[in-house]
């Protein structure tokens, strides 16, 4: 497998969850400069794009009427812009020179900016994003950590959330999908990239990732052994939630 930073983390997380066996994989690592977001290019240049060529830090965009030169870094996916670990950390071989680590403050400030909004504003944002959803499940299908044979939304008895593209159904889907990623999301941004409705759903998972870093000093997929905090049970857990009355 050829892996970038986020993909290497996803492989690690899947190994932790016993979905993959590391011995059966040979990882060829490639330090990643980020994926381009065609939506961003098209909204800058217009629909007439016929080809895009990469040239170092620049993009040569060919249109029906000529060429345009863009700065590559401006047209990355949001998840790539705030990526902390672009280098594969446990590849069997690495191709190319490692890149400098990303700035963790970018992810932090995204979450913090959101947190400083009023509860009403946050709810309005949540509604606007969630209720645009058409429940095509491209985000789930693209997510490296969504591998359930039967997703909770497909479960019939009991039914966990309304089945359709109704406000309750869409909100239920967005909340529970994010919750299921607590300590598991590897910040790859695949969900957001896949969404046909341009829903920026990582504001939810990034908040959870932020809490995991802050409260548990944990990031998913950094190695192939550490259990996500919510999946690891130890005898000296502070909250002994398995014991009644404590």
């Amino acid at each position: 497998m050829v892996v970038r930073g986020c993909e290497n983390r996803s492989v690690n997380a899947l190994v932790v969850e016993k979905q993959k066996s590391r011995e059966n994989l040979f990882l060829i690592g490639v330090p990643c400069e980020g994926i381009l977001d065609w939506h961003k290019i098209v909204s800058e240049v217009g629909e007439a794009v016929t080809a895009v060529k990469e040239d170092g830090q620049n993009l040569m965009v060919e249109t029906r009427d000529g060429y345009q030169l863009l700065e590559r870094a401006d047209f990355l996916h949001d998840s790539c812009k705030r990526c902390i670990h672009p280098n594969p950390m446990s590849a069997d071989i690495l191709i190319g020179e490692p890149l400098p680590e990303g700035d963790p403050n970018l992810a932090r400030t995204t979450v913090e900016n959101f947190e400083t909004q009023t509860i009403e504003d946050r709810y309005a944002w949540f509604q606007k994003e969630a209720e645009r959803c058409i429940r095509c499940y491209a985000c789930r299908q693209a997510c490296p950590m969504c591998y359930c044979e039967e997703c909770f939304v497909d479960h019939i008895e009991p039914r966990w959330t309304e089945s359709g593209a109704t406000p309750a159904g869409m909100q239920g889907w967005h909340i529970v999908r994010a919750f299921h990623q607590t300590g598991r999301c590897t910040s790859c941004g695949a969900c957001e990239r896949a969404c046909p409705m341009d829903i920026k759903m990582t504001y939810l998972t990034e908040k959870l990732n932020h809490d995991m870093r802050d409260k548990y000093n944990f990031e998913a997929g950094l190695d192939a052994q550490s259990q996500p905090p919510f999946a690891a049970v130890t005898l000296d857990d502070k909250n002994r939630f398995t014991v009644r009355g404590e």
């Binding site: 499940y137 693209a142 309304e162 089945s163 046909p196 341009d198």
Partner: protein
Amino acid sequence: MNHILEKHTLQDLLQSWRQDYDVYLPQKMENFSHFMPLTETSVLVDGDPHNTRIPPKALFLPMNEALVKFTRFGGYEDAKHEIQSRIVFGIRPCDAQAVQLLDTSFIQEDNIDPLWSERREKTITIGLGCHEPCQTGFCTTVGYGPFDRADLDAMLTDLGETYLVETFSEAGEGCFLGLPVASEEIYNQALDIQRSAHDQMPVAFETENLKGKLEQNFKSDYWDTVSQSCLGCGVCTFLCPTCFCFDIVDETQRRERVRNWDSCMFRTYSLEASGHNPRPSRVERTRQRLSHKYVYWLDQVNQIGCTGCGRCVRYCPVGLDIRAMLRQAQTLPFEVSHAA
């Protein structure tokens, strides 16, 4: 009849319709256009991409709607829907064709979907032809075109400062009463634009023998090849203007039986209670999607069930391109003798 509509008077005209109709037109939503009800401040989005992201089929077959209401003591009644008279303005020809194709499924003699048909009856559709080719569309390749009338009530051709309005029905004519009649000269100018738009559309693939090739190679590993990277999501079918599959689900809390859009690309679509799945992987599911559009629709109504709107090409998260898939299908072996 043919009329001339000054662009700067469009807004007034749209607003005047609101007295008697709910008016829908493509408006900006986030980064894309979406059919939304007209308000005082609505602005028509008519740039490229020509198409709204969610196809107008959603105006006739909503993503989610109640079919049946459960009454007390185990009874049932029809779910009630207030369906208003509407004008849908700015449908592109490929989408208008798609709605007409779907009529053949929803409105059959003695077998009529009541909600679809009532919405169709109460809706006046006004098309907006495409004077410039769109990026991923290929309407002419599949036998349609950027100025096809389908069964639109009226259609507009963009002439710069004005639109030529062609009306095809009484209801369509009623919307444009009182507008000046277009001169022969202007009409001919519009026809030139329409013809040139048609000619500018690229030929994305050849359709000759395509149906036969797909049919005869039902078991070919071609399907394996073209579906390799498919995620099995619902994007290409939910956004497709001609996909109509729906699921029926009981919503216990709402005491309703509802329908939701469904997709043959989903694993659960064909999964049976016994655990048997006739289409166990993306290979069979991709085959179903393509065959439905390029084989079965032809068997049923002798028209290709893809109107070339280009949405699936544009929004597939892994870049699977139906045009490329069908170009590749053209290289499959084909025996003419079978075809008869």
